[in-house]
Point group: C2
Chain length 503, copies 2
């Protein structure tokens, strides 16, 4: 059964201090309902990541039905961390596709700006695996390590990496400046980017999506319309980033993309434009590679060449992305869908209109890329022939994982897979806090803290020490060499002595 999009709506993203989350969401919903031509909606699907802690609003599904004077209608809330907006669209899609409803309203929103930043960071950090969170890893720290791993994997120098990330930030701000719904409607210059402070090396303030209030809504219907949803994919990954074999790309996104493409019987070459979850600039490049829109390992080069610009071969984040439109966590996925519908219908400002937009794709990341979705939307008149998707990357999409290590068996040497210097650490941690991902010689992957806040090189050999529940790592210098040799010898002597005593 085909599922079409009817009316859509969005509130301008930014600060909305005077309204409750429910009434902000109702505002977007009313716009969508007013724009709808189909029959009355029969059910509500509501997305919010953590309204309980952000605004103290529980029972949001019922609250929103009431706020819209739709009390009576079934209303269900869906949550998958920061991909909530896409997940609620997926759940509503199934409900309509199952034949249970002929028309449903999907609304997603979040209100965050009224809280102080450390509180927001703490709430967002609840989605991080507890061990990593307790070791001091915040979302930006983990994203920075992913960024470093990407640069190391594909041989980007720090200079080159910076230039690429800057390009993404500048492009998205340029697009956002044209979007009346964007939180930041101003362009930024390269200088502004380079002058912005480093949050978690190598990520700067301008690499991170802001804290935002916002809501988006759309009506799904079985009645034939001009835009339909043809593919929905969803994939998860290990909660802990350190349990993943590959740090430089997201297996869950690849899984989601595979499913969405196969449901839509489309391939990356069919996609005219995409909205990608650029919560951190590097995620846009990794996302485009995971989706097969850019060649694996060459995404950064494509960005440098302007392939993802508004006039490029495959425009990415014509809306300004999470970076410039803003990132009300639970709403972003649905806001991407609304943007795609606008683009497909030619309803955006001509300056921002993607030329020949007939098939769009949205990519949404939940948590630290462990609950991701991909949705493909098409105009009814999109070319009907299916192009089979040949994955551009040879590695099959499989979730591989490191075994959880038994701390006593972790060897004392390893290779630094990635690291970051976090300048805004969580409460109770010193600043700067240096965190590293290390593959030990015993074959374990651990998240460790640097014993002293110095810089490292990804790929270098490090020494590991255990202390108060955390691992510490340090450069493997001559001192370590001596200490290790001696300790190994000492162990040998001890064993020999024991053996002697027993005899």
């Amino acid at each position: 059964m085909e599922v079409y999009v009817d009316g859509v709506g969005m509130v301008p993203f930014g600060k909305h201090p005077q309204t409750s989350l429910a009434s902000l969401m109702a505002q977007a919903a009313r716009t969508a309902l007013e724009a709808s031509k189909g029959p009355d909606v029969e059910a509500l699907f509501v997305g919010a990541m953590n309204s309980e802690e952000f605004t103290g609003e529980g029972n949001l599904a019922a609250a929103l039905a009431d706020e819209l004077e739709l009390a009576g209608v079934p209303s269900t809330r869906v949550e998958t961390a920061s991909s909530t907006g896409a997940a609620v669209l997926e759940a509503a899609f199934y409900a309509v596709a199952s034949g249970a409803y002929s028309s449903v309203l999907v609304v997603a929103g979040e209100k965050m700006t009224h809280l102080p930043t450390p509180r927001v960071t703490r709430i967002l950090a609840e989605v991080i695996e507890p061990y990593e969170r307790n070791a001091g890893a915040s979302m930006v720290a983990l994203a920075a390590m992913v960024t470093q791993a990407y640069a190391h994997k594909w041989g980007l120098s720090h200079r080159r990496l910076e230039r690429v990330l800057c390009r993404v930030a500048v492009k998205n701000h340029r697009n956002g400046a044209l979007n009346p719904y964007a939180q930041f409607r101003k362009e930024i210059t390269d200088e502004q980017y380079y002058n912005s402070r480093i949050i978690s090396y190598p990520l700067r303030l301008y690499d991170c999506a802001p804290i935002t209030d916002g809501a988006a809504a759309l009506v799904l219907t079985r009645e034939k319309g001009d835009v339909k949803i043809t593919g929905v994919g969803h994939g998860t990954d290990t909660l802990a980033v350190r349990h993943r074999i590959h740090l430089h790309s997201f297996a869950a996104c690849r899984k989601a993309a595979e499913r969405a493409y196969s449901m839509a019987r489309r391939g990356p070459k069919d996609i005219d434009f995409a909205e990608i979850h650029d919560a951190f600039t590097c995620f846009e490049i990794i996302g485009a590679e995971d989706l097969g829109l850019l060649e694996e390992g060459k995404g950064w080069r494509a960005v440098e060449k302007g392939k993802t610009d508004l006039e490029g071969e495959i425009p990415i984040n014509a809306s300004g992305g999470l970076k410039a439109r803003g990132h009300p966590v639970g709403a972003s996925g649905l806001a991407q869908a609304v943007e795609i519908v606008w683009q497909l219908r030619g309803e955006v400002d001509p300056a921002r209109q993607v030329k020949g937009a007939r098939i769009g794709l949205l990519h949404s990341i939940g948590g630290m890329a462990n609950n991701n979705l991909v949705v493909i939307l098409e105009r009814e008149d999109a070319p009907a022939h299916a192009i089979k998707w040949e994955p551009s990357h040879s590695r099959p999409v499989e979730i591989e994982r490191h075994h959880r290590p038994d701390p006593s068996r972790v060897s004392r040497e390893g290779v630094l897979d990635s690291y970051t210097i976090l300048y805004v650490p969580p409460e109770g941690f010193p600043s700067p806090l240096v965190l590293g991902m290390i593959t030990t010689y015993s074959g374990h992957r651990i998240l460790a803290r640097a014993a002293t806040p110095t810089t490292f090189k990804v790929g270098e050999r490090v020494a590991i020490e255990k202390g108060d529940g955390t691992f510490y790592f340090m450069r493997y210098g001559w001192a370590q060499r001596v200490v290790f040799r001696l300790s190994r010898k000492a162990r040998g002597w001890k064993l020999a002595l024991r053996r002697k005593l027993r005899v």
Copy 2:
């Protein structure tokens, strides 16, 4: 497309201090997976009401996939307050019915016992409409007012009401004593009931479901099996209880029942047994009436006659219900489904087995009855002929609501629709706190606080006064009569004077 239940699982409800919510849920899930005969599950649907605040676990959908070593598989969390367990079943049902998946795992759980009771009460109170919450209304206070309204509507004396509620509590404890998964596996006597302290008049401790840790799981599949889901219904109501015309029954339940019966092409007479959301004893009676299982206004009489006992005409809560099995808020709805599957398969202890169980129904309440679900499960060999449902109540299921009052226009006299004496009020309120629902002579319904903590009679005339953002009410005695007459006269004089001065 038909949707069948494959394996089911549950953890014994009670206290599980040593496990995280995710691993408690994984335990139930593994039992369900091991019992499943069908293909591997392709997706996960996860229900928890507020894991963020109860245990600090965010990103639960991804966490559970990881915990089950199923990372990769799509995982979605669903929430509708205390009916979450039923709502996640509904969402999974649509996903399978849509053809997107052929087999999915549904898991619901909650962990609450590690927190002090006032903290749990505060978290649960987030689902109450803000004005009512700020006026001091907790879940039990609102439930007590619903109970009083029920008794008043059907002419039950306080004595009679107490006896009926006692019957429900004693019956559910008797059933729970036979259920190895129940939190309370002990019978209670009438004396114990009457000796338990009053929490919110007329509700005693034994009228309220306990605070519980628990999890339940089941696998839904398209492959033909022995038990199928034939009807799913869902309905909402105004968030505020005072906005509802009728306080003695739940329109959202009626709406949900109507949908579920019509989808299943069944009527109340087809139902062999039911699991009803008895978060408060009176809800079991109201629920059975809303479902058409007991005649409207005569449910209490049927309870007195033992019609809902294990051996009765329509056994209700053979599991012990929320009252005795326990009420881990997000899990209860799915636990009801698991109990029904066990009963249909004849897998419970013979002492607890419902005779001739072929069609079962679950009824789950979200928040203060504003997001409710009804699900009908049948054995494959249940009699196939459909009985059309003739609603036993004449009132059509419509969500009617009072208009929100403009406080300045609320008249100073009204009728007390219901009231309660709350002995365990929220922080910052005096104990006892007397709250009343009043229909004013200006046609508004307000929630007010008694000026002095005295007893009232439901239906009596009361005087209303406004003070510091709340309404206060008091018995309408001769003093009020004099004051009101004088104030009305004074207003008349003022108006006359003004008119004179203008002329």
